[in-house]
């Protein structure tokens, strides 16, 4: 039985733009930025125990790292006054240090002033520049432009550019709990957590959110994307705030977290890529960056503290997986992965999207050539990872309604316990990874790549990963009959997993095996210069690029399927 992909029009859940949380936030931008700066400041003060010496050390570390960054890794998007700002900070710190007679309290006050300056600056830097008019325009451009490109590529002939035969929804299929997320978005605040493989994910998700009739979500986009003005325009229009991965100092990280937390509390639906950056290995993220995730928990607890215990103050976590046959950046991602395994510390944040030309080329390729994409929306959960029902009530494993607030209660009161929340964030992270694996949809290309790589690995059982990838490609041939048998075996297990609700499967996986294999071979990494899988003239399976094969194979990592070989 082939299930149908959902393809229909959704009415907007909030027809009036003025009611969109992002619009409200944009209206109050100034006050909001101010509030974030103040709260970030008090967080840093808490963390340093209001001790002037420790605070001084943090300020000096921040200063040192910022000066180093300005010198070693400047970006176009950096403001011009950076150098002078940090020089002022330096002088202010020197000044305070030289006044040795100052009392402890006076010193703390002086440091606080410097701290305030920095968090204000960071808060301003991070804040999004959402403009509703830009959003509408961008949406139209994206939909119009992309569907033109799509039709041009698929419908042959002169008039094809005006054809409406294919819409974007033919290319990007949305499956899963779409009604639930729409429904809950009117009741509480959504935090969407998608897997991340490609730079286009954020635009893709932005588009999907709007197709589903939901107001724009805010999300943290890498500052490197703002290096190019056209991209910056899109990003701003989509409600992005800026995350600068070069800045790893305490003050910046705390301001960033505060921004995210305050925005969620404000009622802005948010989007986190919980893997932090794109998955370099091609595996579904299994270790999540918990920093931003913890802000969802904190926001939830703060809502409870403020007495907002009904569904309007509730935060829903919605996992999403994006499934591709083809990830354009795969070659650079996997080579990054292979070179940084074990030495991440020495890895410099690079930026392959450095020019507008490269992006346009990417976009054209993506929409004209890239094959279908499906996006699965998972079941919504509360911040502890419990599923929720249609009214937003949390359910325990037996389906009993429970109150999320109870997790934050000690001796009858909602209390603040950072250590406890840290553990909860861990639990939530684990639950999200579990859900990712459940809603992940297997494509034919994932299956063939997985089977081929595992067969090659089994034939060379003495080699480790790095030697395996360096095998001469021309020596590798897998006889078709054996390949088919193994595919059958693995697919059998996948279907068993599916029966138990542990994985999803694309409709084309119900075709006869020969068709699945040929569909998979045609699609796996189809537009790379070197193809991960091909057939030779005898119909047997060969590869042109072992690392790419490894990349696509990794999509089925984490299901213990490799034990079949």
């Amino acid at each position: 039985m082939e299930e149908n992909y959902i393809k229909h029009k959704y009415d907007p859940i909030l027809p009036k733009q003025a009611e969109w949380p992002v619009v409200k936030l944009a209206r109050e931008r100034k006050e909001f930025v101010q509030r974030v700066a103040e709260r970030a400041e008090s967080r840093v003060l808490d963390l340093t125990g209001k001790n002037p010496e420790i605070l001084k050390e943090e300020l000096e570390t921040t200063l040192y790292r910022e000066k180093l960054r300005i010198k070693q890794n400047p970006w176009v998007v950096d403001p011009d006054d950076e150098y002078s700002f940090w020089n002022e900070v330096k002088h202010a710190l020197l000044q305070i240090n030289s006044e040795s007679k100052k009392s402890k309290i006076a010193k703390l006050d002086a440091y606080k002033e410097v701290l305030h300056k920095i968090t204000s600056r960071y808060s301003n830097e991070i804040a999004s520049n959402f403009k509703a008019s830009h959003y509408k325009f961008t949406r139209r451009v994206v939909t119009f432009g992309f569907s033109r490109l799509l039709n041009a590529a698929r419908v042959k002939g002169f008039r094809s550019i005006f054809s409406n035969q294919y819409t974007l929804q033919d290319k990007i299929q949305i499956t899963g709990q779409t009604d639930q997320i729409r429904d809950l978005a009117t009741k509480g605040t959504i935090v969407m957590v998608p897997t991340h493989f490609s730079n286009l994910d954020s635009i893709l998700i932005g588009w999907i959110i709007s197709v589903l009739g939901m107001p724009p979500f805010i999300y943290g986009a890498g500052l490197n994307l703002f290096n190019i003005s056209i991209f910056a325009y899109f990003m701003n229009a989509l409600g992005a705030y800026k995350v600068d991965r070069r800045k790893k100092n305490l003050l910046y990280l705390e301001t960033l977290k505060t921004y995210s937390k305050e925005a969620i509390q404000f009622g802005c639906h948010s989007l986190f890529f919980p893997g932090g950056t794109r998955s370099r290995s091609g595996m579904i993220e299994s270790k999540l960056k918990l920093g931003l995730l913890s802000t969802a928990l904190e926001a939830q607890r703060t809502n409870y503290q403020n007495g907002q215990s009904d569904v309007s103050g509730k935060i829903f976590i919605v996992p999403v997986t994006i499934n591709y046959h083809f990830v354009l950046e795969a070659p650079s991602l996997i080579s990054d992965y292979l070179s940084i395994t074990g030495q991440e510390r020495y890895y410099k944040e690079n930026d392959e999207f450095s020019t507008s030309y490269k992006i346009s080329k990417f976009l054209v390729k993506f929409f004209t050539k890239g094959s279908d994409i499906s996006v699965s929306i998972g079941k919504a959960m509360d911040v502890l990872g419990n599923y929720v029902d249609q009214d937003g009530n949390s359910l325990d494993k037996r389906g009993r309604i429970i109150n999320t607030q109870d997790y934050f209660i000690s001796e009858g009161k909602v209390t603040v316990d950072h250590q406890r929340e840290e553990e909860y964030t861990h639990m939530l992270g684990k639950r999200i990874v579990e859900e990712f694996h459940k809603i992940n949809r297997v494509f034919s290309s994932h299956l063939v790549a997985f089977v081929a790589f595992e067969m090659i690995k089994a034939q060379n059982s003495k080699l480790d990963l790095f030697d395996l990838i360096r095998l001469p490609e021309e020596d590798i041939v897998i006889p078709y009959a054996e390949f088919k048998k193994s595919c059958q075996l693995v697919l059998g297990h996948i279907m068993e997993l599916k029966e138990r609700g542990k994985i999803g499967v694309a409709p084309h996986m119900y075709r006869p095996m020969d068709e699945i294999i040929s569909h998979g071979l045609d699609n796996v990494g189809m537009y790379h210069a070197k193809r991960p899988l091909l057939t030779n003239k005898d119909g047997d399976i060969i590869t042109q690029d072992m690392s790419l094969l490894y990349f696509y194979h990794n999509r089925l990592h984490g299901y213990a399927l490799e034990k079949l070989f």
Binding site: D396, K397, N403, D406, Y407, E411, D417, E423
Partner: protein
């Protein structure tokens, strides 16, 4: 929606009134009113009316009930002190009334198996880590409570009841649970340490029971202190390796819940596990020993589970393996001892 009970001061709950459960309930009752759960109505009546159970005195501030719902409503903090064999059953009885605000601390030094219908240790050829559950894992799996801790250490009930000085470890991922446990139990005669490695602490308590049986056997054979020293030190090495393989840290085994408890149990005639080993060495058959014991010796079940696990994982644990053969395959104790003496333990310590 959860029925929030009134805000009057909460009682501390204790589930299971075996010897250790009673000892802990009595200690808790020194500071707070305690509500205990017992399955049988006559036990409940006995506690409420005569303040005794199985001949042991029960503190006057202890009330008893046989209603799990009442206990869960009146207590925010609950101590589960039931043997591992009954754990699933008891936890499932309480699960419908537990909510995320409950703090649970358990004191059970045993393991449970996470099997599907029809699976048993005998018809299984492999036993993987996921199929073995420590008690905290049972609680997390079966209930919605997350703030879970365990109590482990050299705590022989008879000594605790006499009020002799002792200490224990409360382990939990949550500082909150450790602090609550300390607040409730600490006294001039009772010290409470904290540890965040809950799995390691649970495993320490579980694995030491194996060595305790061996220690009993040595004593039963009439062997001396040299042999005991040898056993305790080799036993600790074995515990470290097994604990690591099951997900605990080395540190916890070296602590109070590991070595501390090991030394106590290996010297104590009060220990049930020690007694089992002792009587085995005197020539009594296992079935007869088990029949005559009032409470469960967790070590027997632990040996079965751990033996199946090491076979699957490809580990060697000579003491456990040989005890298994003595208990279940009719190997003579003397032969097992011979085997251990010949076993090539070439390195003294290889884990620090």
């Amino acid at each position: 929606m959860p029925s929030k009970s009134s805000s009057d001061s909460k009682m501390i709950g204790v589930v299971g009134m075996g010897s250790f459960g009673t000892a802990v309930a009595n200690m808790l009752a020194e500071k707070n009113p305690v509500l205990v759960y017992a399955r049988k109505e006559e036990v409940v009546r006995e506690i409420n009316e005569t303040h005794t159970t199985s001949g042991r005195k029960v503190h006057l501030d202890i009330l008893a009930t046989f209603d799990p719902e009442e206990l869960c409503q009146r207590c925010n903090i609950i101590f589960f002190m039931v043997p591992s064999g009954a754990y699933f059953e008891v936890i499932r009885k309480f699960a419908p009334y537990l909510y995320p605000y409950h703090l649970i601390i358990h004191g059970t030094k045993g393991l449970a198996l996470n099997f599907e219908e029809g699976q048993t240790l005998d018809n299984l050829d492999k036993l993987k880590r996921e199929q073995i559950l420590t008690m905290s894992e049972v609680i997390l799996q079966e209930t919605v409570a997350v703030r879970v801790g365990c109590l482990a250490g050299p705590n022989i009930s008879t000594e605790l009841i006499l009020g002799q000085p002792a200490a224990t470890v409360i382990a939990s991922h949550y500082n909150e649970v450790i602090l609550e446990g300390q607040r409730l139990l600490r006294s001039e005669r009772f010290q409470v340490y904290g540890n965040s490695d809950i799995i390691g602490v649970e495993l320490s308590g579980v694995l030491k029971n194996i060595i305790a049986i061996a220690a009993g056997a040595l004593a039963g054979l009439g062997l001396g202190e040299n042999a005991k020293g040898l056993l305790i030190s080799r036993g600790m090495v074995e515990m470290v390796h097994l604990s690591k393989a099951l997900g605990g840290s080395v540190q916890s085994v070296i602590g109070l819940a590991g070595v501390g408890d090991l030394v106590t149990t290996c010297n104590s005639v009060h220990s049930r596990n020690f007694t089992v080993g002792h009587r085995l060495a005197k020539g009594e058959p296992l079935a007869q020993i088990l029949n005559s014991m009032e409470e469960v010796a967790e070590g027997i079940n632990t040996i079965r589970i751990v033996n199946a696990f090491i076979k699957t994982a490809g580990l060697r644990a000579p003491i456990t393996e040989n005890l298994y053969r003595v208990l279940f395959e009719d190997l003579q104790i003397e032969e097992a001892l011979q085997f251990l003496m010949k076993y090539p333990f070439s390195v003294d310590v290889d884990f620090v």
